[in-house]
């Protein structure tokens, strides 16, 4: 066992949460003027911004255009000051590239891509402060930004993670829990249909325990969904009030 105790005998985690509790989520839609859609999310100490541009004409060579669906272009970038040790490159390193790919695959599966053939949608994600669950926060922020941009989605995409410590599944891992070297399962779901669009697990885990960890992560996604949905409804209400219409 590592030097730090990730779960106390009383059942509390290192930051005082219970195993099933998420970190505090604060989010906001429409933070930028230039972008077609934007959002900001804080999950505990992880802070992520997302901006969406499009749908627009395909940039960088016509060859990229697809005749039957939209090109989803993502860019994941971490501010150099977002981590404990200064990051040399904000993007382009192998880890960011992997993250970019994952985001692209996640949103390719969620956006109603066939509605905009021969066009492109850009999703830019910027991590301002990283404290674990970067993928999850990025997906949640990007979902909000896409909703803000008015791009048709099958459903919200909500992401959450779960780990397994002392025979207990822990939801929404922070950096300390992530870096302890235990199991981590990252999942992105469409909460209404309970479908999984993205799943990744690293480190070993006994087969018998998998369902417990999965269930906890999926439950985390549902909790995230409730928070995001409230934020979207509030935002729509505010916007409607501002232009003088009736709030939905």
């Amino acid at each position: 066992m590592a030097g730090v105790e990730l779960l106390s005998d009383q059942g509390f985690r290192i930051d005082g949460r219970r195993p099933h509790e998420l970190r505090k989520i604060e989010c906001r839609l429409g933070v930028f003027r230039q972008a077609d859609g934007s959002a900001y999310i804080e999950q505990g100490n992880t802070k992520v911004l997302a901006a969406v541009y499009g749908p627009h004409e395909v940039r960088g060579g016509r060859g990229k255009a697809l005749h039957d669906k939209v090109v989803v272009n993502c860019q994941y970038s971490m501010a150099t000051f977002s981590t404990g040790e200064r990051k040399r490159r904000p993007r382009g390193d192998r880890k960011s590239q992997e993250m970019t790919m994952h985001l692209q695959q996640t949103f390719d599966a969620t956006i109603l891509t066939t509605l905009y053939p021969r066009s492109q949608i850009d999703i830019f994600v910027e991590v301002l402060q990283a404290d674990g669950g970067n993928y999850c926060a990025s997906v949640n922020a990007a979902t909000l930004a896409l909703i803000d941009a008015g791009i048709p989605l099958k459903d919200y995409v909500c992401a959450s993670s779960a780990g397994f410590v002392r025979d207990t599944a822990l939801v929404d891992m922070n950096h300390l829990e992530e870096s302890s070297g235990g199991t981590e399962l990252i999942i992105a779901t469409l909460p209404k249909s309970q479908q999984i669009v993205f799943l990744e697990m690293n480190s070993r885990l006994h087969e018998d325990n998998l369902s417990a960890v999965m269930d906890r992560a999926v439950a985390g996604c549902t909790d995230v969904y409730n928070v995001l949905d409230t934020a979207v409804r509030d935002h729509v209400g505010e916007t409607a009030a501002a232009i003088g219409g009736d709030a939905a």
Partner: protein, 288 residues
């Protein structure tokens, strides 16, 4: 109707307003946009992974600055001086006009401008960053990221940087003379002392004669030249007029006068934000 004229005949649109001495966003010619500043420190808010940070919202322009410290060996010709390395990033997030990829020319020019301001004003004594002469010094990386681009990023960058530096604390590091080992004391922190507070003010030249301070993106696009004046309250630290329409001596003086006015304003803003405990990263992103 007004929006159509604005898009179709932007110059005509502006001319009509400027004849009355106002701008389309109700500002006077010498007025800055409302500025919101959020300063964080390690114990405070903003970015807690950075040694110092600040987020500024100048109208719709948003810039965030984070300062990270690292240890390095000094140059042999300057054994007692640390390094201060600014870098401005105009990422694809902030505007549709920027494409993902290597830093654009504009971003590199801005980085150089900020580096010049730091060098000319000498607001941070590089000797303060020395830990053991000839052996170890601090390198401060000041990374500025533009999150939303609506003109006048230069002024926003300088203000964000000054604000972030004014609230940067570094842990105390000691080097054992005999063993050469370093000891870091994270409990004891030392604030960086600024000898002065450089603040810049940019004006756009419209139709060769009107000077618009703090230009928006559209004003920048329409302008025939830009003038940037950086002051520290007493002295002029830097003056830049990269080409564009020629200016009279009197107009140049007006720019300088406005820069001094802006300096007082900005310094008040920094002191106020340092005093307030309310600031969270969301506040400048949320209030509009």
């Amino acid at each position: 109707m007004a929006d159509e004229v604005r898009t179709a005949q932007p110059k005509e649109f502006y001319r009509k307003y400027l004849e009355q001495g106002v701008r389309p966003d109700n500002r006077e010619l010498g007025e800055f946009r409302p500025t919101v500043l959020d300063i964080g420190s390690k114990n405070g808010s903003c970015i807690s992974t950075a040694e110092g940070s600040a987020l500024i919202r100048l109208g719709n322009t948003i810039v965030i600055c984070g300062i990270k410290g690292e240890l390095a060996e000094p140059k042999t010709e300057t054994p007692t001086e640390g390094y201060l390395v600014p870098n401005v990033e105009l990422s694809a997030v902030c505007s549709p006009q920027f494409r993902p990829g290597p830093p654009s020319e504009q971003a590199q020019v801005l980085s150089q401008f900020v580096a010049n301001v730091l060098k000319n004003s000498q607001c941070v004594e590089l000797e303060d960053l020395c830990i053991a002469p000839g052996k170890m010094v601090w390198v401060l990386y000041a990374d500025l990221i533009c999150l939303d681009y609506d003109g006048n990023v230069a002024d926003a960058c300088v203000l964000a940087l000054t604000a972030a530096l004014s609230n940067t604390s570094l842990p105390v590091v000691r080097v054992d003379e005999e063993t050469g080992k370093t000891e870091t004391d994270f409990k004891e922190e030392k604030k960086i002392q600024l000898t002065c507070t450089p603040i810049s003010a940019t004006s756009a030249i419209f139709e060769d004669n009107v000077l618009l301070v703090d230009p928006t993106r559209q004003e920048e696009e329409l302008s025939t030249g830009l003038v940037t004046v950086v002051t520290d309250g007493k002295n002029i630290c830097s003056l830049e007029k990269p080409g564009g329409s020629p200016l009279k001596d009197q107009q140049m003086r007006l720019c300088i006068e406005r820069a001094f006015q802006r300096h007082t304003e900005a310094c008040n803003l920094i002191t106020q934000s340092q005093g307030s405990t309310l600031s969270t990263l969301t506040s400048p992103l949320v209030d509009r």
